[in-house]
Amino acid sequence: MTVVPLACMAALVSGFGRVTTAQQKVTTHTNPAQPQITFNRDIAPILYRSCARCHRPGEAGPFSLLTYADAKSRAHQIAVVTKSRFMPPWLPDEGDLKLADELRLSADEIARIQAWVDKGTAEGDPADLPAKPKFAEGWQLGKPDVIVKATKAYALPASGSDNYWNFVFRAPVDRTRWLKSIEIRPGDKWLVHHANVLVDRQQNGRRHEIDPGAGFGGMELTIESEAFDPDSHFLFWKPGSIPYVEPDGMALRLDKDTDLILNTHLQPSGKPETIQPTLGLYFTDKPATMHPVLLQLENDRMLDIPAGDKHFAVTDQFTLPVDVDVLAIYPHAHYLGKDLRATAKFPGGGSETLIHIPDWNLNWQAVYRYAQPVKLPKGTTISMNFVYDNSEKNVRNPNDPPQRVVAGNRAVDEMAHLWLQVLPQQSAQEKSDPRTPIVEAMARHNLQKNPDDFEAHYNLAALLMGRGEVPQAIAHFEQANRVRPNEPTVNNAFGAALLAAGRTEESVPHLTAALNARPDYFDARYNLGNALASLGDFRGALAQFQAAVRINPEDANAEANLGSAFAETGDLKQAKQHYERALGLNPNHELARENLQQLNQTLHDSPK
């Protein structure tokens, strides 16, 4: 494994002052009778198709490549960067599986560019110039249904290395909507290398903000969710990309009180800049009927790369418990990642490369969608094979001199992740959620790799809980709680599971711990209120429901339970008020209605 592929090295050497020599080689292969290569006839079509989407005013490319003058003033640079395939940025090797929107120049196109520069950058006959490409101005999909701007701008310093910033957007919806696309407008596009949107259903991310709306730093973030609702969409932006529109039936659910977190990778420009991104949301009235899963292979535990190691391999294998269609793939490593490969080995023999990136570059990471879904039968083993270079030869090595590197979220740490968006296939007779076998198999696989995998224990517990297997769920919540004793999410879910199992007294310390860590935790207040009520401590319950209602004044259940707590402590007037409020929030709230009727009866029977 050489550090830089040989072709790339050759380009590097030829790039400086010796471009001409290298190009003459190319041109000697061309037919001498061939007419002169001109911008108008030969080069403009290449630039229009493969470069102009970013290299035009207002877009991510730092300069435009739309006119002869534009191209001429960058001619040698264009020759060098196309020859080395640094531009257009497209990391995967050409394989058997076709990817959507492949942005790769053909060998012929590259040779044409070299010859054009070599022969003096002729402009040619204006009649040969094709029509300028038409690009949609502004929002690429037309006016969004909702536009939301980051509350506060982020001040990007003039200098320094790559920078990571997260902006928290409150989902501007007052009811559940179905999202078919998000257009991410990062602001000054060329400062933003790429950006991801994460759906934060529990509004956990905003707790990292020092001031509300300020956003927070960090390269990677984990979003926890208490419901079985695996995040299943890649909401990814890279320069020059047109927002992806989900097909009918694949929309993403967006509820009220959900945050969207925009994770951006920024690069200083040389002067101070401010970034204040905007999101455009596009809704559909067609709810999700198909539920993809983001399948993750990873082996961060294997990541312990000795300083100077040029070829450190990390692998993971996962065998599919069901047939799936693979829709998209997203390999992810940091700066030491070198050669990233994913392979599918079929149960009947044979294999196929899902993706191969021979010269990984974090700056150009992307989600790759397949032109056609890739069908993988049950029993197929997906392998992740990543190779890392922690030597000083790797110029992207963040440590000088190289240091031992382990897994982590910071840019100087490493990652070995491979995400696949898969659509589990299910026969019409099966009633169960087709996602569960995959999520369960993934969690069990992860626990095999790491018995202390917090997320796997938690996910498995949540899934078992959803299936009604309460004792098994409790066992995994207990493990998750052992790994991270102070995690409020786990303490709450663990407490709720104990409550469901009738182990009320045991639930109280966990719910209390959740609230100690996070006093405004609505679910934990509500659960603790219920626990105390079933233990007969109505005064205690009353306090919890009062707090719950303060945190979320629009929850009918909390209002109804607060009503009951008042009723139990003898304050019938207050009880009535809260039952009525519960019914105001949800006119179909059975419990509130029945209790209110009963209460009215009591008040009627025993007037003061």
């Binding site: 830089v4 790339c8 380009a11 590097l12 790039g15 400086f16 002052g17 730092p62 300069f63 001429k72 003033s73 960058r74 001619a75 040698h76 640079q77 060098v80 960067v81 080395s84 640094f86 531009m87 940025p89 003039a158 200098s159 290395s161 790559d162 060329w190 690069q267 200083p268 420009s269 040389g270 002067k271 700066y335 570059n361 700056n363 150009w364 110029v395 992207r396 090595n397 963040p398 000088d400 840019a411």
Partner: protein, 198 residues
């Protein structure tokens, strides 16, 4: 290219300056009759007279070269660190770079050095510069003692280090101050090709 005696026609139409005998192999800084770099007011810039007794550092840049722009804080800092011994000039070799655009650019990027326009590539040739950003160091006798990259932040397009680990320009300035010769060949810079601006 190295001439022993030169008479200069100054902008006003008057003469005259002479330069002492040169025995060096590197070309002397010279300005012929018609071709010259200017400051932003359009006055011809005379490197042989600039910053007498000090080292002169020329940094070739472009307002629209992303890599040279990214270097702005580094360049500004290097100039500040060596201000007692070296005078820095930014040189814009692009014909289309107007004085106003350059002033605006310098302001935005926090440059405080004098900027020069070199549309006829007089300083480019004297400095043997090929790339923006590229540095040229002239000693107090106005001999070109270094030209090449500022540091090794970029190894190639798309191959950038987190921070530079070698600092060729700073080393060259130190050597020039100490009057020591530089060893080895300079590494070419990574950035935008000046030849594309011809």
């Amino acid at each position: 290219m190295s001439e022993k005696f030169l008479t200069f026609r100054l902008f006003s139409g008057l003469l005259v300056a002479t330069i002492s005998l040169c025995v060096c192999s590197k070309p002397l800084l010279s300005r012929n009759h018609q071709r010259f770099a200017t400051d932003l007011e359009g006055k011809p810039f005379d490197l042989s007279r600039a910053a007498r007794g000090k080292i002169v550092v020329l940094i070739f840049v472009r307002t629209d070269c992303p890599i040279s722009n990214r270097y702005a804080p580094t360049i500004q800092q290097l100039g500040a660190e060596h201000r007692n011994d070296a005078t820095f000039f930014l040189v814009y070799p692009g014909k289309g770079e107007t004085s106003d655009a350059i002033r605006k650019h310098d302001r935005e990027f926090g440059y405080t050095f004098a900027s020069l326009r070199d549309p006829q590539h007089v300083l480019v040739k004297q400095s043997e510069a090929q790339i923006t950003p590229e540095a040229a160091v002239f000693d107090a006798g106005r001999r070109l003692v270094y030209h090449g990259r500022i540091d090794n932040l970029y190894e190639d397009f798309g191959h950038a280090r987190k921070t530079a680990t070698t600092h060729e320009l700073a080393d060259a300035i130190e050597a020039a101050i100490a009057g020591k010769p530089l060893s080895g060949n300079a590494t070419p810079a990574v950035g935008c090709y000046i030849s594309d601006l011809e």
